[in-house]
Each structure stands twice: as structure tokens, then as C-alpha cells.
């Protein structure tokens, strides 16, 4: 709640007042915008109960452990980060207690920025879809992406 010129005004009241000013409608006849009405009655969007991270992972220099393995062909050195991959028998998933489809990719190429510059682009992207034991202990189904 904010105070304007000594008077107390809520965010909702501010929206009503601003709408009235914009439409020329005032007082008790004010028809509230549909979106504001929906805000009052809309249930909160249900949050996805997240999975738990894999228990293992790499520990970069001067950094805490991160729950990720760079899975993939150990003969590959990525062109721009110069990162190396840790092998085929390495879990590509970032989530534990998981069973399902899994795909990963390390892309390379270029990108053009809004500043007109060309940049070298490198990605490590993963998608996971299937059953998982969520952080609340329940069995769930979901789709996730490592970005």
C-alpha cells in the first residue's frame, strides 16, 4: 500500500482510479476491467513441484558443487568454452529419481545481437520427460529442460 498526498491508496484502488480517469467513467457506475475482476477470483496458478537434483556433480574451481555431469563423447572439446565431456557412461540428467525420455545437445554456431555484432554461440541443452519423485515425496510426471 502506498501513500499519495497523505492519502492511503491500494494498488487495486489505484488501478480503478486510473481506469476511470482513462475512460471518463466515475463513481459507483465504474465497470471494472475484466482483467482486474479475474485477478480477484483467479486461483493461484499451481506450481510445479520440482524434482530433486542428482546427488553427484562437478565442483568447478572456487565454486561449490553443481549437480550436473557434462555427459558425452570424451573425444569432444567444445569450440568456444573449450570444455571437455566426461564420457558415455555419464548420466545426462540433472534430476534424480527419474525415469523417462532424455536427450542432450551441445550446439555451436553464431548469433547476431541487437547491437549488430556477431557472437559465437555455444549451448548445453537437455530435455527430460517422464516420471519423477518430487521434492514433496510424491510420484509425478513432468517435462524439464536444462538450460
Amino acid at each position: 500500500m502506498r501513500s499519495i498526498s497523505g492519502a492511503s491508496i491500494t494498488r487495486r484502488r489505484f488501478v480503478q482510479t486510473a481506469t476511470a480517469a482513462a475512460t471518463g467513467v466515475t463513481g459507483a457506475t465504474l465497470v471494472r476491467p475484466a482483467r482486474a475482476a479475474a485477478w480477484d477470483h483467479e486461483p493461484a496458478r499451481r506450481a510445479v513441484v520440482p524434482p530433486n537434483p542428482i546427488p553427484g556433480g562437478v565442483t568447478p574451481p572456487n565454486h561449490a558443487q553443481i549437480h550436473l555431469w557434462p555427459a558425452g563423447d570424451p573425444a569432444v572439446t567444445l569450440p568456444f568454452s573449450h570444455g571437455t565431456l566426461k564420457g558415455f557412461d555419464v548420466d545426462p540428467s540433472t534430476i534424480t529419481d527419474f525415469r523417462g525420455f532424455s536427450a542432450l545437445a551441445y550446439h555451436a554456431g553464431t548469433a547476431t545481437g541487437s547491437d549488430g555484432s556477431t557472437y559465437n554461440l555455444e549451448s548445453h541443452m537437455t530435455v527430460l520427460r517422464g516420471r519423477y519423485i518430487a521434492s514433496d515425496g510424491t510420484l509425478r510426471f513432468g517435462t524439464f529442460s536444462f538450460i
Binding site: 569450440p79 555419464v90 548420466d91 557472437y119
Partner: protein, 145 residues
Amino acid sequence: MDLFEPSSGSQVHDINGGVLASGLFWTLPLDDDALDVSDDGTRAVLDVENIQVIESYRLFAPTTTPATLSFRIEWQATDAFVDRGKDATVAPTDPAAFLGRFAVARSTAEFEVSEFGFSFRSDPGVSTDQGFAEMGRERNGFFLR
């Protein structure tokens, strides 16, 4: 996803999914219909529009700003599916603590990012030809029991 300045090689943008307090690393939920996988599992398409991500400019840098990412990634298996992982014969913290059947794949991608003061779009030709891709099915943790 990272951008590097070509002349210096320095990383100048780092687009990532953030880290939860649990330690879940750079991993975000998607709508289930974002992913389409062929019946035989040899082709997959991931199509995501306007997911909220974080720009941290460099790996693990403290300065961040919100960003919006759209991307389309395609995978096509290029090799046969083979068994991977060592099941529960290794410690849960071991990188091989999983079981899966994976095929080496080729992947192509398009990315578009928008943030306060900057945006970029990938050029045609982004692929795993200089990298690596694989696809398959796996299980870990509880599902190894």
C-alpha cells in the same frame, strides 16, 4: 547457452535456468506438449516459447538480469541405441549411477533471447557438428532399486 566475443574469445552472455535452493541446477519445467518424440525414439523436437530465464553474463557471475528465451531443438539419432550406465553398482554420487539406452544423435537448434537492453537471435546453422548429442531413455535414483 553462452555467447562469446569472437576476437577475444571472452564469454559475454550466459543464459541459464537459475538454481533452486535444493541445488537443482539450471533446470526449468516445461509444458508437456513442448516435446514431441517419435514412436521409435529416434527423432525429437523441443519447441519452447518465451520461457523466463536468467542472464548472468559469465559463468557463475554475481550480476544477473531477467531474460526471455525461445528455442527450437531437433534431435535425430545417427547411431544405434546402446546400454549406458552402471546401475546401483556404483555410489549414488557417481556419474555412472544410472541405467539407460542411448543413441548418438545430431541436433540442430534455433535460439532467441530478449532482455533489458539487449537481444540476440541465433544464425542459421547452429548444430552439434562441433559438439555432441544423444537421445534415449534412462532411469536413476529411486528407479534403480
